[in-house]
């Protein structure tokens, strides 16, 4: 780890102002990715602005047909939330399966979403559950938020304040864990809304993506059989020594069907 200046912000405006003032500042949420990156000397920001002291950024609320999770809420709190479990059980289950207990108690939804790790779980929830990412500047629709590998629509200085998930009529999340890291090799969120079915896949590609062929088939008939033969191409998927792109494509197909099975059983 290289040396850096440490700041503890007390509100979002103050954090944004600091971020503007300093040379090469980084926001610190749970630090689950940033701190290992710093320890491995793969990044050397001049300043860290810690959001842990910003009380406005914590908490969960139900607002109309939306579950609102403030950015600095740890995964463990989402997993244990009665409100979340009642409104969108798939979201509580997803949060409860992120990393390990230590990660779930430190890592936050805002940090995960802003980082846009291709193998993180939350992107599948954001896109699958048609969420809105709210920042200190604007609201961004899920389909416009993730742009690519570790790339989002966030502008410099923009800070996520909350994520608003729309309650589906039903939803299910299934994850195939990486044998080594435990990250999602494939994480698939299948959610049904009055407006249509959404199928979002994290882990398999460079960024979370929707499988429109599956969505269309499920719109017609919400049965496992209707998507059993719909394959995704391995061409755009990632591969590593444990799970090739071809294998990931296969798991997407199997897990999508199993998610629907779980919802229709």
């Amino acid at each position: 780890m290289h040396n850096f200046n440490y700041h503890r912000a007390s509100d979002v405006a103050g954090a944004a102002a600091l971020l503007k003032d300093v040379d090469d500042g980084k926001l610190l949420a749970g630090g689950m990715t940033l701190l290992p990156t710093l320890k491995n000397r793969l990044a050397a920001p001049s300043d860290l602005i810690d959001l842990a002291g910003v009380s406005d950024l914590k908490g969960i609320s139900i607002e109309g047909d939306e579950v609102v999770i403030r950015a600095m809420t740890p995964h463990a709190v989402v997993a244990a939330s009665h409100e979340v479990a009642t409104a969108i059980p798939a979201l509580a289950a997803l949060a409860g399966g992120i990393g390990d207990p230590a990660v779930r108690h430190r890592g936050t939804i805002g940090g995960s979403v802003a980082n846009a790790d291709p193998a993180a779980d939350y992107p599948a929830a954001i896109v699958g559950l048609n969420a809105t990412v709210v920042t200190n500047q604007r609201s961004i629709a899920a389909d416009d938020f993730f742009l690519g590998l570790f790339e989002t629509a966030l502008r410099p200085g923009e800070i996520i304040t909350s994520v608003r998930f729309k309650n589906p009529s039903r939803a299910h999340y299934l994850k195939f864990r990486h044998p080594a890291s435990g990250y999602a090799v494939v994480g698939i969120m299948v959610a049904q809304y009055a407006s249509g079915v959404r199928v979002a896949v994290t882990g398999a590609g460079p960024s979370v993506f929707r499988v429109s062929a599956m969505e269309a088939a499920l719109d017609k008939s919400f049965t496992p059989k209707s998507i059993a033969d719909i394959a995704v191409s391995a061409d755009q998927l990632m591969g590593d020594i444990h799970c090739s792109a071809e294998y990931r494509a296969h798991i997407v197909k199997v897990y999508a069907r199993r998610a629907v099975e779980a919802l229709t059983a």
């Binding site: 290289h2 000397r41 044998p179 080594a180 890291s181 020594i241 444990h242 799970c243």
Partner: protein
């Protein structure tokens, strides 16, 4: 001492201290004015070093010294010790690469130390290390075991033709060739046994301290063998051993990996000598992946000959063993010391093994839990299952008809092992009953209904434990009758303190709370070879037992003198005589023993004893593992559903600790078979599994309850009747799990699953088999 007696499930005395953060590992130690070292390592698997410029690093904040291979060469210290004793195929001596603490001419693996920065803080050392400029000329690298000996492969050392370091043979070649030529049936297979890393919870670390006034070196370090370590290191430093003290604190796992004298040990001592300050180096986790010695890594071809009744008539095995880039004493032993395991528990009359050790641009090798035993056990136990499949016989039956019966003991196998005892068929039958072997097909059918492919696999393995050697122990009574117990062996977490205290409490009647256990300090320990090869219970335990016997003998004479009788009996820590109502406890005798009045004139005062136990005979723990797996046919994900072990590790000193050893060994075996693997990119030679993000470790959640039953057949090869238990779990697990995985898929036409059997690999063999069947 009933509750602490030998055989009782005594909880570990170490644990309250360790669990409350009271451990004292190298990284917990701090010496006044201590400085910190950071190693600059080669990023290339093979490169000529053209120039090292340390000027900028020397000027960096906090830097005290920057050392390179040239500094090592001119320091007066010698090379690190290397392996010796083996030969090449033409009879000439094995190749012995020079092993300086920092390389000068060439880097030979990713992680090879090229410079050492010493600074006031660890961070300053790390910062400055980035300023050391090394000019490399990259060379082609060879990391692959199978191809390293081929013509045209990159040469790790210019003067070592075809990278062949040594050849090792065992058994009767001619007899085996004849047996195989004459056999009714010969089964032939090739196995690739993956390279793995120990991934110890505590990484390696050392503090070097040269005391100029006393002209004496002290090294606090992670190790397995304190006195042998001192001997090897003193030779490297070219000083008398008396000028060197080695101290081991708590050690967080080793499994063989920490048993050598490594580069960094030399570097902290050189650093201390140059700077006049103690120097600490502790590996980061990332550093451990590229700088620790690795284990296993061989390619084996085996041929098993059978007669028409299924009796084994011959076994021929040829192995290419990856010897790494540098050798050390013992680094070659994985290729030789335990190939005897290949003979298994079978009568096979003719066996021959031929091992070629090849040098590669990979990390040096070290023994890793089993050190050749798991590799050999995997080969023979897979071969037996393959043979059973091919001749259409139940694998348990094929094992049974080939097993060595107790009536044949002692039994000289076709290789080097001479078994003293063992009741293999009895253990096998118990294991079959425990898992309800007969009921398996019903469980398989039930799983099929759930869409799962269920398989059952077994192994019956035997291995050498406690190789001939010696161990020391010392019992020191103080004036109030409590004890300091000093052992020559060193624990890395096995629980030596607990078992040794049990033996002392059992034999001397002193409560364990009044026994202080001491180990790993060469200024305190008078004798001992240390820990490794499942030797401590047998050798260390016998040494402690022997010391207590000496204490009892002397105390009996003192008690007789004090009670003025001539026939004293001793039981449960109390001396009595039928001729008097008086009795004396061991503690009372100990308290009295420093007063010359209480001691017979022909005896020295005091009640202390040292014991040096040695044996020329090893023991042979053995046992049967049976495991049931279920495979998700669509994804290839395999889960362990049932796991049972029936073992014969001789007399059980502490069933709790035994279970811990077996379960831990199984976890490492399952890891090797199902997920762990150090992989190098074949083209670039770069390590692809350099962190836990890519190197898959087994987690507790994947294991079912492991049911363990002991059926001891005590051995007469040591004072306690114990057989080694440290490696047995790992040895049995790898083939048992492999056999279960293949069994689950046999009906599809699958005959083998490569190691490690990851979900994708299993999925692919299923897909390939299905395509083969439909084609």
């Amino acid at each position: 001492m009933g509750e602490f007696a030998i055989g009782q499930p005594v909880s570990r005395f170490e644990d309250p201290r360790l669990l409350r953060g009271g451990g004292r590992y190298v990284d917990d130690m701090s010496l006044p004015h201590m400085a910190f070292g950071h190693v600059v390592r080669s990023p290339h698997p093979h490169a000529r070093i053209l120039k090292i410029d340390t000027r900028r690093a020397r000027q960096a904040p906090g830097v005290i010294a920057v050392l390179t291979g040239e500094d090592w060469l001119t320091s007066g210290f010698g090379d690190l010790p290397t392996a010796t004793g083996k030969k090449k195929r033409d009879g000439s001596p094995m190749y012995r690469p020079k092993f300086p603490a920092m390389t000068v001419d060439k880097a030979r693996y990713v992680g090879d130390p090229v410079a050492f920065v010493v600074a006031n803080t660890a961070l300053e050392a790390q910062d400055a290390a980035e300023l050391v400029e090394v000019d490399y000329d990259p060379l082609p690298a060879i990391t692959d075991t199978a191809h390293a000996h081929e013509d045209g492969a990159p040469q790790v050392y210019d003067d070592c033709a075809n990278n062949i370091c040594f050849v090792y043979q065992e058994g009767d070649k001619d007899k085996t060739d004849v047996a195989i030529a004459a056999a009714d049936r010969v089964i032939k297979r090739r196995f690739v046994i993956s390279r793995v890393t120990a991934a110890t919870m505590e990484t390696r670390g050392s503090i070097g301290h040269y005391d100029k006034a006393a002209d004496r070196y002290t090294c606090y370090t992670t190790l397995q063998r304190a006195l042998n370590f001192r001997e090897e290191l003193a030779e490297t430093l070219r000083i008398p051993e008396s000028k060197l003290r080695i101290v081991a604190g708590d050690i967080g796992g080793s499994f063989g990996m920490k048993s050598g004298v490594f580069n960094e040990v030399g570097l902290v001592l050189l650093g201390s000598k140059v700077t006049g300050r103690p120097v600490k180096w502790v590996a980061t986790r990332s550093e451990s992946f590229i700088a620790d010695a690795h284990g296993r890594d061989n390619v084996t071809e085996a041929e098993l000959a059978l007669d028409k009744n299924g009796k084994f008539t011959g076994l021929r095995v040829r192995t290419l063993y990856n010897a790494g880039s540098y050798t050390q004493p013992g680094s070659d032993s994985g290729a030789s010391s335990n190939v005897g395991t290949l003979a298994g528990v079978y009568m096979t009359p003719a066996v021959h093994v031929d091992v070629t050790g090849v040098l590669t641009n990979t990390n040096p090798m070290r023994p890793f839990r089993g050190n050749g035993r798991p590799e050999a056990a995997f080969v023979i136990e897979r071969m037996v299952d393959i043979a059973a499949d091919e001749i259409g016989m139940d694998p348990a039956e094929l094992r049974r008809i080939n097993m060595i019966p107790p009536s044949a003991m002692p039994f000289q196998t076709g290789l080097s092992f001479n078994y003293d005892c063992g009741e293999f068929e009895k253990v096998l039958d118990e294991a079959l009953a425990m898992i309800d072997y007969k009921g398996f097909e019903a469980r398989r059918a039930e799983a099929r209904k759930r869409g799962k492919l269920r398989g059952i696999g077994m192994s019956y393995t035997i291995e050498k434990a406690a190789a001939p050697g010696y161990e020391g122990a010392e019992v020191r009574f103080d004036r109030t009758g409590s004890i300091t117990l000093i052992a020559g062996s060193v624990t890395q977490g096995q629980g030596h303190e607990t078992v040794f205290k049990q033996i002392v409490a059992d034999r001397l009647g002193i409560h364990p709370d009044e026994i202080h256990y001491l180990q790993g300090d060469t200024d305190q320990v008078f004798l001992g070879e240390g820990t490794g090869g499942s030797r401590t219970s047998a050798l260390g335990g016998s040494a402690v037992t022997s010391a207590t016997e000496k204490v009892v003998d002397k105390a009996r004479k003192i008690a007789a003198h004090m009670m003025q009788v001539d026939d004293v009996e001793y039981a449960d820590g109390v001396f009595t005589s039928r001729k008097t109502n008086r009795s004396l406890s061991m503690k009372e005798v100990a308290k009295s023993a420093t007063n010359p009045r209480n001691v017979p004139k022909d005896l020295e005062i005091g009640l202390n004893a040292t014991a040096a136990y040695h044996t020329t005979r090893q023991n042979f723990p053995n046992g049967c593992h049976i495991v049931e797996v279920e495979i998700d046919e669509e994804t290839g994900v395999a889960t362990l559903d049932k796991y049972i072990v029936v073992d014969d590790v001789g007399v059980v000193l502490n069933p709790l600790l035994l279970k811990g050893q077996i379960v831990g060994g199984i976890a490492q075996g399952v890891g090797q078979m199902m997920m762990e693997e150090i992989r190098f990119d074949p083209d670039s030679g770069q390590i692809l599994t350099g962190s836990f993000m890519d190197y898959a470790m087994p987690h507790a959640e994947i294991f079912p309850h492991i049911d363990i039953k002991s059926m001891p057949v005590p051995t007469k090869t040591n004072l306690l009747g114990v057989k080694g238990a440290g490696e047995a779990g790992c040895v049995g697990a790898i083939p048992a799990v492999a056999n279960a995985l293949v069994d689950a898929l046999t009906h599809l036409g699958v005959r083998d699953v490569a190691m490690p059997a990851t979900p994708e690999r299993i999925w692919r063999v299923i897909e390939d088999a299905k395509r083969g069947q439909t084609a």
